[in-house]
């Protein structure tokens, strides 16, 4: 594996995470329980799309085959997507959406905080910018975790169900491939183990405050996205998202 291949894989993973999460959040547009939440979730989606455009554009440039951000977003199939399984999980209800968001916001927050010290110019600049946005996202999801977790019996039970269901998808966020090992060695990215420790410390303390419990999984964590193996949900997300550009490839806005 060359340095550019490793870097391409890493950028693709970050970019696909933001793209698939934004697509999921967009499904809430016009459906949230109150106007403020509706606007907040779509604002977060817009920030993720903005980050996605920067990441996939850079990935295309690094790959050097002339693929644009749109080529990468709309003309790859499921097997080529590298987003974490967590992000493609369905919205279900507001408790699930917020829990998925919270797990990911804390991950993005610590990942980007570390990437501000990257030896790579693009990653350093990107992380400093995106971190400002993620800081607001993390505040939003953290507040809701506590408010609903330590809320009524109904809200607590829904939140606990979401935590129990989504927890097994969190381990994969920190899984290292050969590409990661190469980039860590070079100083372009931080060790994912370090980020995992920070993530775990923050999440454990917050779940405790929110009176929620981490489920016992006997060490099991779902995995597969690093090799392009996804849950059944990604296919239908892509079908909807890619329909127009695939039907009319030269359509312009």
């Amino acid at each position: 594996m060359t340095r550019n291949e490793a870097y391409f894989e890493f950028l693709l993973r970050l970019g696909d995470n933001t793209l698939i999460l934004a697509q999921r959040l967009g499904e809430w547009c016009g459906h949230a329980h109150q106007l403020e939440s509706d606007i907040a979730l779509t604002n977060v989606a817009l920030d993720q799309i903005g980050q996605c455009r920067l990441l996939l554009s850079e990935a295309g440039a690094i790959e050097g085959k002339g693929r644009t951000e749109d080529d990468l977003a709309f003309f790859r199939t499921e097997k080529d997507f590298r987003n974490n399984l967590l992000l493609e999980q369905p919205n279900e209800n507001f408790a699930f959406t917020i829990t998925r968001q919270y797990f990911f916001d804390v991950f993005q927050f610590h990942l980007y905080s570390e990437l501000r010290n990257s030896s790579d110019d693009f990653l350093r600049g990107f992380a400093a910018k995106a971190l400002k946005e993620v800081t607001y996202h993390r505040k939003l999801s953290t507040d809701w975790m506590v408010r609903l977790g330590d809320g009524t019996d109904v809200s607590h039970n829904k939140m606990q169900e979401a935590v129990t269901t989504l927890w097994p998808f969190t381990g994969e966020l920190f899984e290292k491939t050969d590409a990661d090992t190469m980039l860590i060695k070079e100083g372009a990215i931080s060790d994912l183990d370090t980020i995992h420790k920070k993530w775990l410390a923050e999440v454990e303390s917050l779940l405790d405050e929110a009176t929620l419990t981490i489920p016992e999984t006997m060490g099991y964590m779902a995995r597969g996205s690093r090799q392009g193996n996804h849950t059944e949900y990604l296919g239908s997300i892509l079908a909807e998202m890619q329909y127009l550009p695939r039907t009319m490839p030269d359509a312009k806005w």
């Binding site: 403020e36 606007i39 907040a40 604002n43 977060v44 817009l46 920030d47 993720q48 799309i49 903005g50 980050q51 455009r53 920067l54 110019d121 350093r124 600049g125 990107f126 400093a128 910018k129 995106a130 400002k132 946005e133 800081t135 607001y136 505040k139 939003l140």
Partner: protein, 166 residues
């Protein structure tokens, strides 16, 4: 920022003062702080570097087009470059821009990002742009565009936008 600008560059900045954020039409791209540099080479070709407020700011394409339009109408062959580093901050908004924002009904950023109060959750005081009361309360950190939060005033009871610090 202290710099000396040639009369020609000053003229270009004056033209850019006439390009407004399409979503906040009282804020020029200069007052907003998104124009990072203006360079004129010996062949008279102009390069304007802009930076997005938020990564996903949907106004960037319009801003780029408007900059090219006004400069080409004034005889400049212009390229517009986008740069993300250093990251845009509300600290770059001009005082005139902040005054215009408040007159328009949007509370301007109330602090410097170096205060870090916005990160630690320290309560900050936001003035109602309508009745100037300080008895205001945040409704949501997310508003009608990526750069704004939603507040309400305890005195005049109106809801208003606040341009949040980043």
């Amino acid at each position: 920022m202290i710099e000396t600008r040639s009369p020609e560059i000053q003229k270009i900045y004056a033209l850019l003062e006439q390009v407004f954020d399409p979503e906040i039409p009282v804020l020029s791209v200069i007052d907003l702080g998104v124009v990072r540099s203006v360079e004129l080479n010996n062949s008279g070709e102009l390069t304007v570097t802009i930076t997005p407020t938020y990564s996903g700011c949907p106004a960037m394409d319009t801003i780029e087009r408007d900059i090219k339009t006004i400069l080409s109408e004034n005889g400049y062959l212009t390229a517009v470059k986008t740069s993300i580093a250093p990251a845009w901050t509300t600290d770059w908004m001009s005082e005139k821009g902040k005054k215009n924002l408040e007159k328009y009904g949007i509370a301007p950023p109330a602090e410097r990002t170096t205060d870090k109060g916005f990160l630690t959750g320290k309560k900050k005081e936001i003035r109602c742009p309508r009745c100037k009361s300080m008895q205001t309360e945040m409704i949501s950190n997310f508003g009608s565009t990526a750069c704004k939060a939603l507040y309400k005033c305890g005195d005049c009871k109106e809801v208003f936008d606040y341009f949040k610090c980043i």
